[in-house]
């Protein structure tokens, strides 16, 4: 894959921060749309993002019409971008975002700056750490996220443990099992705080297949072992102390946007999503900045992020085209129920500018059975049935909200059935 070249320009049309799925798809599309200089800044030695270490299917069906494993998919995304004329600079870390599209960079050769007409933040998501979940106990070696495990197993061919337990039961927790079995690691248990597995129930038989015991409703999980993991203890659903001997712990899921740059910057952050506050074009509070991919919210599939990148590229090309459109104002989408964790976009720009998202994406923090509605002032302008849970894709059309052009805010709430 790409090696770093030292010739980072001083200026460019579009600088893409993060060469993962969305950043590469966006950059390639921008070139196809005729944008002059498009630069991808990627801090790892190789571009490609998370799929580089997802050594399993299914990737690429919609994008390339073929069933691919993650690394092959990442390679194709890099190739397509290079072929389209994108300059990819690897081992190049963006260390700070400044107003009007100026970036501070660190490369192996030292530090420099880059000024772009538009910057796109595509830094993706990571999993929450053990510390962020307050998983107590000692701090031995052998406790790691699925992402770290994948990079060890698929990129390094290395095994950190033999019989780990998995904390969490999201989709990625099941990919942790797949990652383990790739090198003959045998997970012994999956431990979930919720009363049922978070991933869709169809994945449950997978546990039986791999002889992984499932514990739901677990409380007060602790890790035991001074130098190496020796055991995990927790209170099971009936309050009894359960002790499982193990030599490793995989801390999986609870995705959170990789928002370090954003948090330290002048850009507005949305606490609910953990990503930047954007409008339907993906534009941040500083109009020189856009964002796309999983930085926008935790977390979507690669395929989703790829297409989101392409859509955002179109919005940026339109923005740079110099065509004139009018902006009548903007409406912010606010949340009035704690069960709604986030809504993306957070803001609607009222304009005749073409393009932009047609749907809003909603994330829940608790299961909801009822309706979701939008109020503008005292008036309900839209409502729809909502019957879903956290960590599920929930989409609603944005169009009905555009009618509320007179108010500055639209309030989203839920009403529960029964």
């Amino acid at each position: 894959m790409m090696r770093r070249d030292t010739d980072i320009p001083e200026t460019c049309d579009v600088a893409v921060v993060g060469g993962g799925t969305s950043g590469l798809a966006l950059a390639a599309e921008l070139k196809r749309l005729g944008i002059g200089s498009v630069v991808v800044l990627e801090r790892e030695q190789d571009a490609g993002g998370i799929p580089r270490h997802c050594g399993h299917y299914p990737f690429g069906v919609r994008e390339y019409g073929r069933l691919l494993k993650g690394p092959e998919y990442a390679r194709r995304n890099v190739e397509a971008a290079v072929k389209a004329g994108v300059a990819i600079h690897t081992q190049t870390t963006v260390t700070a975002l400044h107003p009007d599209g100026e970036l501070s960079l660190s490369t192996p050769a030292g530090v420099c700056t880059l000024k772009a007409r538009r910057v796109v933040l595509c830094t993706g998501v990571r999993e929450s750490s053990r510390a962020q979940r307050f998983v107590g106990g000692e701090r031995p070696q052998g406790v790691m996220s699925t992402g770290a495990l994948q990079s060890l197993v698929y990129l390094g061919g290395m095994r950190p443990f033999r019989n780990p337990v998995i904390l969490g039961s999201e989709l990625v927790s099941f990919s942790a099992i797949a990652t383990c079995t790739h090198l003959g690691i045998r997970p012994v248990a999956m431990i979930e705080e919720e009363s049922r597995i978070v991933a869709r129930p169809v994945f449950r038989p997978y546990l039986m297949m791999h002889q992984v015991r499932l514990f739901t409703g677990a409380r007060k999980t602790r890790i035991i072992g001074r130098d190496r993991v020796e055991a995990v203890e927790f209170e099971n659903a009936s309050g009894a102390l359960t002790h499982i001997e193990t030599d490793g712990v995989i801390i999986s899921g609870r995705f959170r946007p990789e928002s370090a740059l954003l948090r330290a910057s002048h850009l507005e952050l949305d606490r609910g999503s953990g990503g930047p506050a954007i409008d339907q074009f993906g534009q941040c509070s500083d109009p020189a900045y856009y964002s796309t991919g999983n930085l926008l919210r935790p977390a979507e599939t690669s395929s989703w992020c790829w297409h989101e990148g392409v859509e955002t590229a179109r919005n940026i090309a339109e923005d740079l085209s110099g065509s004139a459109w009018t902006v009548r104002g903007s409406v912010s989408l606010t949340i009035s129920d704690p069960a709604i964790r986030f809504v993306v976009p957070q803001r609607l720009t009222l304009t005749d500018r073409p393009g932009g998202m047609t749907q809003m994406q909603v994330g829940l923090s608790a299961p909801v059975q009822g309706r979701m509605s939008a109020k503008s002032g005292d008036r309900e302008i839209w409502s729809a049935r909502l019957h879903s849970r956290p960590v599920r894709r929930i989409l609603f059309p944005l169009d009905p909200l555009r009618t509320a052009s007179l108010e500055k805010t639209i309030e989203l709430s839920v009403s529960r059935r029964g």
Binding site: A131, Q141, Q150
Partner: protein
């Protein structure tokens, strides 16, 4: 500088324990002209009490006046300021605010300031609510009063101790790791220690075994004049963006037992809240628990409401080598050529250089050994401060490996190939800060496993 596993050499002094105190002792006595060996039972140095603390360089303003602790802190503090320049150890000169949150605490402030002055910390300055909130605009308005201690600073607890030991090593000392002292024999002229890494002969023995101070005394002297009851302190560390929320070190009004819950930055650019004070029997169990951590987070938010929106980066716990006595337990038994340096409870990082001076004087080290070194070698120290220039800002650094803490390949390789190479991943973390940031190894574990292959006792991963 090597770590030979045989006892071919007779040393002037054997120091038991490579915590910050043992490291400072090794430096001092080496500079005094002694042939020193440091014996550490763990695979790496700084694996005991010195592993996790608040990293405050204390002035000693609240230490008991007239105590040995106060004297050692005051001396250690002064020497640290000089040495930090010489060795390039970074200091974050924040000052501290002692804050009162109710009338009862306000009433204690004058006597605390009086105590500070008695301890030679003359520049304390009373502040009213308005002054405090002006200095610390993110602080909760419920603060009632306080005073400023300008000389309380933040330092790097690990680089500091490593630098002491490195200076000893570069000037002729030896360190043996995986070398637990099991027993010893004193024949009137010197000691023969039996360790898990073979016998060691030395003229004098210093017990600076921290949490095991009483046990080592029992093993070598058959008795101990104190008992260690570890006192655990848990911490919550917030993300670097939280560091903007506090400028000074925010100290509560202390109680008899503890300095209380502190909120302060770290020199690495984070914000920490802690420690708790929990007495326990175990000398190894530095575990955290969710309820205590939640309590610390809540206390932090009470003091600084905006902390609510900040992400947690890490949590950890440290064990203080507390004894039934409040003061340090330092005793020289000349007839047995033996020094106990015990009970260095909660100020050992600040006091270490002062303790080392004190012990050197007790032993009459300058006269006893071959005399002070004339031009001691200065070790190369890699300053890891977030507030000073770092390697990622310099050319030819090999690229960033740990993205959260911006640790370069060159820094990692220098630590692995240096005179005091880490034997464990935890040791590499303390030397470079890899994996210590917000992602806790999500991004760099794979790459680190490759770079460190063959280097650690327990590798990050092994090839199938």
């Amino acid at each position: 500088m090597a770590e030979p596993q045989t006892a071919s050499r007779k040393f002037d002094v054997a120091i038991i324990g490579a915590g910050v105190v043992g490291c400072a002792l090794a430096r001092r006595l080496t500079l005094d002209g002694a042939q020193v060996v440091v014996l550490e039972k763990a695979p790496d140095v700084l694996d005991g009490a010195s592993k996790g603390n608040s990293a405050i360089l204390h002035t000693g303003f609240d230490a008991p006046p007239g105590s040995l602790e106060q004297a050692c802190i005051a001396r250690g503090y002064r020497e640290y300021l000089d040495l930090s320049e010489e060795l390039g150890l970074p200091i974050l000169k924040t000052g501290a605010l002692v804050l009162a949150w109710n009338d009862e605490q306000v009433a204690k402030l004058p006597s605390l300031m009086e105590k500070a002055r008695k301890n030679g910390v003359e520049d304390v300055e009373e502040l009213d609510r308005a002054d405090i909130l002006k200095r610390e605009p993110h602080l909760s308005e419920t603060v009632a009063g306080g005073f400023l201690v300008p000389g309380e600073y933040l330092i790097d607890p690990w680089t500091t101790a490593h630098a002491y030991l490195l200076q000893a090593l570069e000037n002729g000392a030896e360190v043996r790791r995986d070398a637990e002292v099991l027993s010893g024999n004193f024949d009137g002229a010197g000691w023969t220690l039996s360790t898990t890494a073979g016998p060691v002969e030395a003229g004098q023995v210093i017990n600076s075994a921290g949490l095991y101070g009483d046990i080592v005394d029992q093993r070598l002297l058959g008795q101990s004049s104190f008992k260690v009851t570890p006192r655990k302190g848990q911490f919550v560390v917030f993300d670097k963006t939280a560091a903007a929320l506090a400028s000074a070190i925010l100290l509560p009004v202390p109680t008899e037992k503890t300095k209380g819950i502190v909120v302060c930055r770290t020199i690495f650019g984070n914000l920490l809240v802690g420690p708790t004070a929990e007495d326990q029997e175990s000398r190894t169990d530095a575990s955290t628990d969710a309820e205590m951590l939640q309590g610390l987070r809540d206390r932090g938010i009470e003091m600084i409401p905006e902390l609510e929106a900040q992400e947690v980066t890490t949590v950890y716990a440290g064990l203080r080598p507390a004894t039934e006595y409040q003061d340090f337990q330092i005793q020289y038994r000349e007839d047995q050529a033996y020094v106990t340096v015990g009970g260095i409870r909660s100020t050992g990082l600040s006091a270490a250089l002062g303790i080392a001076r004190h012990v050197s004087e007790l032993m009459g080290a300058e006269a006893r050994f071959s005399g002070p070194l004339e031009a001691p070698i200065l070790p190369r120290v890699n300053a890891l401060s977030n507030y000073h220039e770092r390697d990622w800002e310099r050319p030819d650094n090999g690229g960033i490996v740990c993205h959260c803490e911006l640790v370069t390949r060159r820094e990692i390789e220098a630590a692995l190939d240096g005179p005091l190479p880490p034997a464990t991943l935890a040791g590499l973390k303390r030397r470079t800060r890899v994996c210590m940031g917000r992602c806790q190894g999500f991004y760099c574990t794979g790459e680190l496993a490759k770079i460190t292959a063959g280097r650690f006792k327990t590798p990050i991963g092994d090839k199938k």
